[in-house]
Amino acid sequence: MRWRRPAEEELERDIADHLAMETEENMARGMSPEEARYAALRRFGNVARVKEETRRVWGWNVLDTWCADVKHALRRIRRSPGTAALAVFSLALAFAPSVTVFSVMDRLFLTPLPVKAPGEILEIQFRDTRPNANYPYLAVSYPEFQDFRSSLKSFSGLTYQRGQGAMVALNGRRTLVGAHLVSDDYFSVLGVPMQPGPGFLKNRPSLVVSHGFWMRELEGRPDVIGRTLLVNGQAYSIDGVATPDFRGTDKILSPDLWIPFETWLQLQPGFRAFMARRDIRDGVLWARLRPGVPAAQAAAEVESMGREMAQRWPATNRYLTSYTYAPLADRERGGINLTAVGVFLLGILLAVACANVAGILLARAEERRHETAIRQALGASRARLVREWMVESAVLSSMAAALGLAGARVLMNLLPGWLPSLVIPIHFEFSFGPRVWLYAASLVCVSALSFGLVPAWRGSRPDLLSGLRRDSAVSILHVRIPSRSLLIVMQVAAAEVLLFSAGLVLDTVSAVERLDIGFDPHRPVAMAVLVASGEDGSLRQVDCEAVCDRLARIAGVRRVAYSRSVPLSGYGGGATFRLEMPGQEPREVMGGSAGPAFLSILGVRMLSGRDLQAADQHAVLVNVTMARLLDPAGNAVGREVRLDGAVKQIVGVFQDTAWNSVYDPPRPRAIALAPARSGGDTTFAVEVAGNPSAYVKVLRNELAAAQLGAAVLSSKTLWQHYQDSLFVERTATRLFYALGLLALLLTVSGLHGITAALFARRSREFAIRLALGAAPRQIMGTVLASGLRLAAGGLVLGLAIAFPGALSVASRLPGFSPWSAPGLGLSSAIVMVAAVAAAVQPARRVLSIQPGDIVRAE
């Protein structure tokens, strides 16, 4: 309060001057100096009060009392640090996940896509009308987009985007970044401004970079506009930076580059044939409604256009109908609802934490009754006392918020690390926006009010007589206990349900790991993806056989193979062949291509015939399901089939293999020989003697050395690759354990609070019993037992809730049993141990009772 010192000093001097003058006058009237001074003081009145009143005029006293209250609160918190720490900790436990989840929801749901009038934007898609279609909903291919754009009248603009990995050469290194190939009016149709830069230019190869890329890789310098950037070896000029809030239309995966489709096709003509295929439907078509055109009319036009396409292109579109929907408006509405549900659920968590803290504070109020009574006797008003309590609550809540925000920060930094390793790195930029701060601030206020008011009101009840006599007959806590007991029982139950579920999920994951996926993930295999490119970043062909020869020379490597398609890699699993059989309609079968011996290295079992060999230009492998389709008699090997118009001979039949996910139903699949020379990304697998993880780094280095300028991506063991595909299952286990642990910690703090309250209420009774000769152990037993009774009640309730649910799941999931050891035994043990731990500390306080002190009447 340094700033107020001059004014204080001046007032002091003014008063001193006044008193000096008066004293002088009195002395002039003949008083002795001492007498004169006293007379002056008498006439002046109470100096301290005058100062206080003047300060009130200045308006400082308000601040003063608040400061004093905060100081007082801090002193009280310091005096019982354990209890305060427990309160702060259990609140922070609720705050940290609340803020984290809210900020994720804020980013995903509440931040609208920064496009102009998102309600006018529709997405056009196809629907497969066949009942057993592999993919019921389909995106749009580039030629289809061009058809739509040239014919549709209801829209003022149609634009197209397609995700694409791109190799960027920058500052002497090459990085693979996510790019969106877009039609050249993309930004104008969406209504996204450039900042800085003009946007795509027509007269030169031109691209737009994301704000994140600009800051990360280009140091945010404005003079990069017009500079050249090498993408896949082709020179583009950077002609725009998207606004910071535009991270692409996808919520999570944000592209770093936007490149006009036509420019890309001109510079990489090899790509044109691929993009001209009508059945490569992996782009998103955005259409902006023409002003005044109703959405229904536009939808009707799109549907009739779809029917026309089905007639004109029967090979690819016969079963498809096109339709529109408004993803952005839907997303916004859905997002707000989801957020509301999330906030409500997080509110329950917070409510539990608040109830616990209220319990802790009530116990404290009970302990402070004597102090409160003395202060009331000295004239403290109830409002003043309530205010003090509330300030203390606010201080606790703020401390918890600080801790919770720090925790949220840590959680948010951990989040991206939990994602499986992806080929193109995701830049998951989370930040605390203004809405998150507002949410955190409201959490502090709401929680301080909800856990502080009841203890404040009860603790400040005018109760002079019994308070001063330390007579515990009338207790503050008297009424609260039953409802709190119920709450604790429910908390224990919730913790048990969550931990039980976590155990079951863990069990299920190990059951999933026992599923037959058609290959053996335990094999000693290391694998990595090679993207070959020249020094300038241009894509090159890889000589796979030369690379394999090189890898084969690594000591300890037994076998080497390359492949274009890999089981469980999450991409490339959707490729298809068109199978033509005489007398039947052509049908799609799953397809892929692999090098010689690749399937054998993964441990895919050959049921008949042999694996592919280097000379097998016209050979194909099929899985059992396809073999049965072709020849129910089981003699598929040696047969010829027409795939994508070419005649191939079946040389081997392999076991059905999970390709997209471990739950893949068996589908007909054919694997052709992958050409030994080709561009694009190629996976190399080495079978080694010994531990494959020792070879991950060696493999990466050898591949990088095999071709100058090549990028090596996701080098890992076969087991890691397999585990990455179980990402969702492992995340669910983690999530359940995290939630269960959270519930358990809250339960511990709640149990601690309630046993402490019980102890505070009955400490006098305990003292008398001790004085009468009861053993401390006996009384500790009483306190402990009361805590354990609640915990046991909660445990039974939790199991009663969770078990029937688990039984009903078990009836549908083979191999899933609710009687699993981690589910049942471990979770119950954890809950009971935690309950004992929570009750022990208050119970041990029995030992510190000095019967004489408590029983002695005041």
Partner: protein, 120 residues
């Protein structure tokens, strides 16, 4: 000390002290001690200021901009804080004055109606 008997002293009505301070300062800047004495003297010692209560009043007037504080020298050459009426304070005094006259007149009419006055 006061020459007046304790019983004849009058308690201040709410807000009148401020008005009296303003009125006193109309005569010229003065320090706190002088203001207290002036009020007592000018009311023939009927109004007894608890001298200390002057200071919150002065600071209130400063906050409202009716009075300014400045350093100066007192009669016997002591350094003292002088309070001076501002233009705004002068206007305020006129307002307070009118209000007071209305108030005092009204009280007087109630306490001594015209007919009673005639009877006396």
């Amino acid at each position: 000390m006061s020459t007046c008997d304790e019983k004849e002293r009058v308690e201040f009505l709410q807000g009148t002290l401020d008005m009296l301070v303003l009125r006193t300062l109309l005569l010229g800047p003065a320090h706190g001690h002088a203001i207290a004495h002036a009020i007592e003297r000018n009311s023939d010692d009927v109004l007894q200021v608890e001298q200390g209560s002057l200071y919150p009043a002065l600071h209130r007037l400063i906050r409202r901009g009716w009075v300014q504080a400045e350093e100066g020298l007192s009669e016997n050459n002591r350094r003292a804080k002088f309070y001076r009426l501002t233009a705004k304070g002068r206007k305020q005094l006129a307002i307070e004055n009118t209000r007071w006259e209305k108030f005092a007149g009204a009280i007087a009419r109630i306490m001594r109606p015209a007919e009673q006055m005639a009877d006396l």
